[in-house]
Amino acid sequence: MKQEIKTISQNEMGIFVNKLIQNDHYEVVGVKSKGERFVFDELEDANELRLDYDVTILPPKKYFLPQYEKLMDFDLKKNFDVKTKFDNKPRIIIGVHPYDIVALTQTDRVYLDDQKDDFYKKRRENTIIIGIDIQKVSERSFSASLGTHITDTGFDLMLTNLGNKYAITIGSQKGKLLLNQNASTDEATDDEIKKIAKIHIELPSKYKKKLKVTDENELSSLLVANYENALWEERSDRCLECSSCTMVCPTCYCYDVKDEVSLNLEDGTRLRTWDGCLLRDFTKVGSGEVFRDEIKDRYRHRFFRKGNYLTQRYGFIACVGCGRCSTACLPDIADPCDVINELHSFGGKGNKDKFFLKQQIDFLEKGTIHVPRKATITRIEKLTDSETLYEIELDDKKPLGHKPGQFVELSLFGIGEAPFGISTGPSQNSKFELVVRKVGNLTSKLATLKVGDSVGIRGPLGNGFDVKSLEGKHLLFVSGGTGIIPMRSLIEYCLDKKNRDKFKYIKILYGAKRPCEVLFQKEINEWEKCLDVSCRLTVDTCSGGECWVGSVGLITTLFPKLKVERIDPKNTIAIVIGPPVMYKFVIKCLQTLGVPEKNILVSLERRMKCGVGKCGHCQINGIYVCREGPVFNYADIKGLPEAFE
């Protein structure tokens, strides 16, 4: 594509920038010096601009995904009062280097996907980007190796320093208009256009650091081949776990969400802030479990995200070679160039698709992805000492429209949000049930609510069970502990009169820790009454005084009995939901029974925070549990090292 190119004298350039600064319509930010380093900051005068910079401390992502961003205000005096305000201030960013522009276009793929982030979208729409070709290459940068040292898209205007003047490549109508209205320019001559090309061609020679692997497929496969390489542990031994590498990264976009309440306990805000996958609490869930506990695994995760997980998902290497992470890392172990080149010395080819799962995803929710819908608690039933059932109805009286196995994010303003598997089957009824175990802040607060109180609901989210695939099969449900909660949703669906004919025998295995922790005893009694349904219950331990007629022992002790019953393993679909430790053992039992791997469905728990594949917390290797899960076919994910530990 032939781009329009203008030129502007150094002097006119200053006038142009000052004209923009004086125009109240815009907030004008540009690269300024901060001590010996550089930052993007609001400009007061054109002469503050340092277009000769090497690299800024933080990338311009702070203008699109700010360090702290208000998602909504709420008023706790009122039952359910939420207001969302967008940043609509038109902004011009001057002096963005090509690698940062590429990073933004990468972030677009995530934040402007099928579940658009409105905050990000508004900021992107309201921002004009004036880029500048790199004049001084940063010591630690290797962007030329990745081809991000130059770009011909992603900007509105792109400057190139030709010595006595700047060339301006026009990248958009918006940019063209801005230039026409505020600057006096000349057409670039052929010589000048050639000069730009020459600058672009000569730039790579100025780099000290060079990557030995630059092809995304090659890098992906190299990483997979070296998943167990000792290098991860050797390097991460020196990691301070400060996540500085992700904080300064232009392509890192994971975030955390927190509710803050002012001292009057009335007004509050829901804030999102940058989070980092190197931090230990990144994968910590309400019950206290940490899914990526070892620093080695977190350290490796960052590189796999850059070179395999996102690469397989979007087709690009999620590193633009800016070198910020290696500058920021005190023990100097974060440099992707060093790590990749070291891996290259080991060599190897792996199946690059191994950690990624292509799945169709249903998204039902419309509008902003962050704001919950108002719902009301219509019934509360205490099931055990720690579990309580909440029947909830959306205030618009519409059915939730979920599939068995999907989950919702439940909001209590001032406390936060947490994911809960939906416990009732799909129905035209506007009511649905959640069963909640009291473990953390949100669930403790929920315990204090009464019928008629409001909660916020986002969802249904995630991938539920593909019920079509279960038709014509025997079904074996295996659940442990609170796994029975989402399981009930599918069981109810299958036992529904309308659907019962579609499935053959139904066997339900359910293990709890102690008799008093058994959930849904009433429902189980009902299920058992159905034809061709058998239920077997077991508890880990049963103390003297407790009344219990089922088995005693771990859930795995129920399997030998199944063998006696001669089930038809090839035509059986096993559905397994339970605590993380359970899967390994149950799956082994199923394999012993002869159930093929592709016939095993599981539902996994992780820290599902945003529910829409952005915040990064629920990742199991390359997959997002909140998008591709929580229901998975075992055969699809058994190769994911992080799935079952």
């Binding site: 702290y68 301070l240 776990e241 400060c242 500085s244 001292l263 009057n264 920021a328 001032g414 607060k445």
Partner: protein, 250 residues
């Protein structure tokens, strides 16, 4: 809902953390709206021993203080340690490198202090070395915003979220030049965040007043000292300004 009754107590400290509460300015009015302050010697004459939440400032240095603290623990449903002196012992622990009798002799000379409770000191203890602490509000001084967060959390019946990650996270968000790059030794990488990296943001290295999160591996320390041409002894000294006895480095 009944307002929780709050009492403030101070032990060996500069009382600067209680001052941060006075420094809430207009928001104090909000504070006394959501809790009943029943004892706050620094600003009020009234006092009551009937309280739900005891907020303790200062380190424990003497048997008479230890007894008083245990009584407070008995009375309180929730006990909060306020500020570095209370949460980790802070600078009061610097003197633990000597025995109490050595220190007393150096300070008071040969003056006869026998039988005088006021002068009967033992090695400095943090509050949790004497009684169970429910929540810590870290810092020297505390961060007012964090105090508000903790108080609102308790008032709403939730556990306050105290950051479990290092100061670097906040420092990076604040886009500061890393102090190591300026040739200074900063404890930010291993110190608990929550201060919004206030010292590095103001051009001074972190001294670790919010407590050490992680003891780095020796190789890591050596790499860093070498990369930035820093002195091991200096690092050791800096580590024990607030964290004496924590053995951050060997």
């Amino acid at each position: 809902m009944k307002k929780p009754r709050v009492a403030f107590f101070d032990f060996a400290s500069c009382e600067g953390c209680q001052l941060q509460i006075a420094d809430l300015e207009e928001e104090i009015l909000d504070l006394i709206n959501i809790v009943d302050v029943v004892s706050f010697r620094e600003v009020m004459k009234e006092h009551s021993d009937d309280y739900d939440i005891a907020i303790i400032e200062g380190s424990i240095m003497r048997p008479i203080d230890e007894g008083r603290l245990k009584e407070i623990r008995e009375n309180a449903k929730i006990l909060v340690a306020l500020g570095a002196c209370a949460t980790i012992g802070g600078i009061n622990k610097i003197r633990n490198q000597w025995t109490p009798s050595e220190v007393k002799k150096e300070v008071y000379g040969n003056y006869n202090l026998k039988g005088n409770d006021f002068f009967d000191v033992f090695q400095t203890k943090a509050v949790d070395e004497v009684v169970k602490v429910d929540y810590n509000i870290h810092g020297c001084p505390i961060n007012r915003d964090e105090f508000k967060k903790v108080i609102t959390s308790i008032a709403m019946g939730k556990n306050p979220e105290i950051p479990n990650y290092p100061v670097c996270v906040e420092c990076k968000k604040n886009e500061n030049i890393c102090l190591f790059e300026l040739g200074k030794f900063c404890l930010g990488p291993i110190t608990r965040a929550g201060c919004n990296s206030i010292c590095p943001t103001n051009g001074s290295p972190c001294d670790g007043c919010r407590g050490i999160l992680k003891k780095p591996e020796v190789e890591c320390i050596n790499d860093i000292l070498e990369r930035y041409n820093l002195d091991y002894e200096e690092m050791k000294r800096r580590c024990n300004i607030y964290n004496y006895g924590k053995e951050v480095c060997k």
